[in-house]
Symmetry: C2
């Protein structure tokens, strides 16, 4: 529990009801979507305005007490576990859409807004906000910004970063800054907006965001292609891009994922396929028809065993279910599901999947792989049991080797889930020691007393690199 003087100051700011130290509140905010990580905060605060956030932060800065700001905690990197205790700040009361500006095609929102609710509102106005992380029904816009969330539409439309054009944020000192604006071009100094997106709550507390909206596509079409040969699927991805087609969605599932998904959702998928691609194109009706026809040709030329173009939205939704239920279906298998996030250049997808399978065999663990093939963002997912320490250790070794393979192939340790606690020991592998030093320097500039989400991004020690053995 927080010291008495601090607690009474926090209560004075937000009101008795919105500062809690009871065990229920503390336990509820001791973990997030990441398995096997937990730490108790001393208290939980629920601010209602930027002014309250700033006042809370000023008090915490005086008392040198750390703060973890969070939305729904759906992240998968331990990003909102209060590792060093202190106060958890829950943004859910700040959940309003402050403005949709139809002339400038922008929306200004508070961070606690649920992403899917925002998207539904925007679509009801005939507009489009593309970032669609799988967590969107529970995740918040603020959380999406903190983690720079991606999603299924990233290939064509980019990620959260590409849509955040202005921010209001509270610094570790309690001061309020405003970056960017309703501006499509702004080069006044370093780009603090893009720096704060993906900074995982370690540089500032985001209290308001101005988001870019775009016109919605006028048509959409969905198809599945199934392959006995993994390389056929991978070549299809490359050939589509080489044909100058950027599909809205280009998703991949490997054989273990297909089996589990079919068992879960009863879709009648063929269980002897090595890979399924789920492909969507959107845009003008004529262009969509042309692209889908071309993609179909490419799939067949690359020896897809079956190609199925959805006749209508209903059938399309059924096809999408296959991919969307991958995580849920896998999570049923064993008590603990660890969903990872290695990303490679899209030309390296088949190599990466084979490496993952090889590594899983080596460590005798079960890893199914699915993900966003179009942008090389794979989610190798281990099903295990947290109580089996030996197996969990082997899973960790396998993932370390997977990250190393990813970097070897020109990839990264995380495409859209963030570093948090989970990837911190590997960050130096990707960015190098000089790059890591620059990041630490930025952290120091923003948060000299290590009050904002301490213990994240930067590990005490970088993990030793495994020497890969290729049998």
């Amino acid at each position: 529990m927080a010291e008495k003087a601090l607690a009474s100051k926090l209560r004075a700011i937000v009101g008795d009801r919105y500062y809690r130290e009871d065990m229920e509140a503390r336990v509820a905010h001791s973990y997030d979507g990441t398995p096997m990580l937990q730490a108790l905060p001393d208290g939980v605060v629920y601010p209602a305005s930027t002014a309250e956030v700033a006042a809370v932060m000023k008090v915490l800065a005086e008392h040198r007490v750390p703060l973890v700001s969070r939305g729904s905690g759906s992240n998968l990197c331990g990003g909102t576990v209060p590792l060093e205790g202190g106060i958890v700040m829950v943004m859910h009361r700040m959940n309003r859409i402050l403005e949709v500006d139809l002339e400038n095609l922008t929306a200004t929102v508070q961070p606690g807004l649920i992403t899917a609710e925002f998207i539904a509102h925007i679509e009801s106005l005939g507009l489009f906000y593309p970032p669609d992380p799988s967590s969107m029904r529970i995740s918040t816009i603020g959380g999406n910004i903190a983690e720079c969330s991606g999603g299924l539409r990233g290939l064509k439309y980019g990620t959260t970063k590409d849509y955040v054009i202005g921010l209001e944020a509270v610094l570790a000192s309690g001061e309020i800054i405003r970056t960017g604006g309703k501006l499509m071009k702004d080069v006044a100094g370093y780009d603090l907006t893009k720096l704060l997106v993906g900074s995982e709550g370690t540089l500032a507390i985001i209290t308001e965001a101005t988001l870019k909206l775009v016109p919605p596509p006028r048509a959409k079409k969905t198809m599945l292609a199934m392959y006995r040969d993994l390389y056929g699927a991978a070549r299809t991805v490359s050939r589509i891009i080489e044909a100058r087609i950027i599909p809205a969605t280009l998703e991949f599932m490997d054989n273990p994922t297909i089996r589990v998904v079919d068992d879960f959702a009863k879709l009648g998928l063929p269980l002897d396929m090595e890979a399924i691609l789920l492909i969507e194109q959107d845009g003008d009706p004529e262009a969509v028809e042309r692209d889908i026809a071309l993609i179909e040709e490419i799939c067949i030329a690359e020896r897809a065993d079956r190609v199925q173009v959805a006749a209508d939205r209903e059938e399309a939704e059924r096809l999408l279910t296959a991919r969307r239920s991958a995580f849920t279906a896998l999570a049923r298998l064993r008590p603990t599901t660890i969903l990872e996030d290695a990303t490679v250049p899209r030309s390296k997808i088949a190599d990466m999947v084979l490496r993952i399978n090889e590594i899983a065999r080596k460590y005798n663990v079960t890893i199914a792989t699915f993900g966003h093939a179009g942008d090389g963002n794979l989610h190798p997912t281990a099903t295990t049991d947290a109580r089996d320490h030996d197996e969990v250790h082997r899973v960790e070794q396998a993932f370390a080797e997977i990250f190393e393979a990813s970097i070897e192939l020109g990839g990264t340790i995380t495409g859209e889930h963030g570093v948090g606690i989970v990837k911190a020991p590997y960050l130096e592998w990707k960015v190098g020691s000089a790059g890591l030093d620059m990041m630490k320097g930025i952290k120091q500039a923003f948060d000299p007393h290590r009050l904002l989400n301490p213990g994240k991004l930067f590990a005490k020690e970088t993990r030793k690199r495994v020497v890969l053995q290729h049998e």
Copy 2:
């Protein structure tokens, strides 16, 4: 001139021929595209490789001598004037396209490559690199990255920042870092890639860039719309966006610009118009036809006096000439041309143009305004004479007031030209003192001894704000 020990070390790295201290070389690199700014460097170095850049930087760091890295120096913010002397590093020898990767749709290039040459090569491969700053025939990719250059296609396609996905750079210490990669998604730590884009050579020396390419549009159409009423033109811009159309280009010229351009290029433009919009749409042929027809309707509804859709590419090029020759035409009028770069939310364009005209009258100076209406990026351009100190002083006062008006309307002090020397006294107006402190902290982390392009971005003093008087 640099001290002897330093000079001989630099010669040992790059060879005698590529380190110069003669007056010709020093004078040639004492200025850039910005009028009325000049400072002599002590020497000029022309490295041929990243290793040479790193070695040069290590030596300069030892000797605590500042460095300004530059391409062609076409910037308009004094960004490459060596304010504090030291060494100018010219990147022109590092001008190769290292790779075009058709599977990943990326190009990896050296910084000294001329932008237009890069674009021509990319287009010859049937691909598209959208950023098209007006300087592209002389400017380099490295310079574009340093300044985060925009251009005419920014509205639909974004600016340089949106296409840089990986960088190699040399730090102030001489260490080499690599950020990003051929990756459409990468959230491994703070986004150093986007931070370096637009950092104006103050954080690192860019030695290699990986750029995202996109499929080219299949068709393009161009039109002009002319208005007697400025607000009609401005409303047209808003109505087009509200109709969910994002044109590839949506350019604006005011009456003074129209007059000068017509006198220069003999296009037969009507001289009694208050505004001309130049509009281009690209994409699939059917969509382009539909959008242009809709835009034409909107122009007529907003009382355009004349609307002219180009029948073919030749006519389109003629229409484009009007906008492209704006700067050249204005530059003929008087000895000194100061092209500014205020940017507002696009809904505020008419207000901003009227404010600019009002301010020009108040200070009795000549300012013509043209620019990228679609993204609110206006280029108020003063024609004056550097030898007339009184007039130049009035021009400066007028611009200070224009920047203030821009911020008041929710805009920024620079949309695409950068801060450099020219805007440094105004940066705090846009980003606030806390924002400026964070930027200084970032600078301190990257360049503790102020060796990289010192004197840029951060002014010794922020200019006092003018109190706007609205008559």
